[in-house]
């Protein structure tokens, strides 16, 4: 008898769980089932890797810059603000 086989997650279920897995939000039994599938499925391994890479790549996109002009205007606004309240 092999209850594990019955419980095996499908790929379709796997792709719904990737963020829970990456965020460490699966409890131990679920994480084991998740990893059990990964061990057996190259396509899901690749899928998870691509998710990881995509997330990392998003983190590498530089933030916007604030133009010197905008900064000057904001500083003026700050001066106005502080002068009206003192």
């Amino acid at each position: 008898m092999s209850p594990r086989t019955n419980q095996m997650l499908t790929c379709r279920e796997m792709v719904e769980l990737v963020s829970d897995y990456l965020e460490g939000r699966l409890d131990d039994p679920d994480r084991e089932r998740f990893e059990e599938h990964v061990a057996e499925c190259d396509a899901c391994t690749l899928y998870i890797e691509q998710m990881r890479m995509t997330i990392a790549a998003l983190g590498h996109i530089p933030t916007e810059t604030v133009s010197a002009e905008a900064e000057r205007e904001l500083l003026d606004a700050f001066r106005d603000w502080s002068s009206t309240r003192s």
């Binding site: 499908t10 829970d20 691509q50 998710m51 995509t54 604030v66 502080s82």
Partner: protein, 231 residues
């Protein structure tokens, strides 16, 4: 105010806003220009990115950012430090961006389709890519993902970055907000929950939908041939 209430607020304040925030706030309230310059340097770039993701153009984004700073200054005396300064500023900016986005017709063409996917509805991956009930292994991949060529290099390329940013801009608003804060700006999940007033679970569901769609957009961009071959 009863003592416990004061203590509770105190505890929340120190949890959300670190000492650095408190010191900066004091200096700001005293009209210290250097403090404001520091605040701009620290929060300006993220604020611009955050707003840019929610409005149609850089010009509009700059206006929204200026409005946000105005609101920040006007609210500075009332800010209790119950969340971090950054969280507070982000929620002000998002409120303004939402209003502005609506007015500018940012809510783009596929409003109907978009509404269907609102708040995390819909599967992470197109169901057609999995085997049906009569398949050899139901629920397993029918057209599995294909490895990307030189993924590290391609993912850092300007064109791919555009594809990812465009995919994020096309997301329903809540998903867009969550992935912008979490993955583009690198915020922790509790801070995002705080800024967007979401539960942790809800936040994760939205994040997952958003990430899945961005990955799919990258896939479509990097692997158009694989798509055709699977048809």
């Amino acid at each position: 105010m009863p003592e416990e209430e004061a203590a509770r607020r105190e505890a929340q304040g120190s949890g959300g806003a670190p000492d650095a925030d408190a010191q900066l706030l004091d200096r700001l309230r005293q009209g210290d220009e250097d403090a404001f310059r520091e605040l701009l340097r620290e929060q300006g770039p993220f604020l611009m990115r955050l707003v840019m993701m929610h409005v149609p153009s850089r010009g509009v984004a700059e206006e929204v950012v200026a409005d946000t700073w105005e609101a920040v200054l006007n609210g500075l005396d009332r800010f209790e430090g119950r969340s971090s300064l950054r969280t507070w500023i982000a929620s002000i900016a998002l409120n303004k961006a939402r209003t502005r986005g609506k007015r500018e017709g940012r809510i783009v063409p596929f409003a109907l389709l978009r509404r269907r996917y609102e708040e995390g509805g819909g599967p992470a991956v197109d169901p057609d890519r999995f085997q049906g009930r009569r398949g050899e292994r139901p629920g397993w991949w029918a057209s599995p993902p294909v490895a990307w060529e030189e993924p590290e290099r391609q993912l850092e390329a300007a064109e791919t970055r555009d594809v990812m940013l465009r995919a994020i801009r096309d997301l329903p608003p809540r998903q867009r907000e969550v992935i912008t804060l979490r993955d583009l700006l690198g915020w922790e999940s509790d801070e995002v929950c705080n800024a967007l007033d979401l539960t942790e679970t809800n936040q994760r569901v939205l994040l997952h939908r958003a990430r899945s769609k961005v990955r799919a957009a990258v896939e479509e961009y990097l692997e158009p041939k694989a798509e055709e071959a699977s048809r």
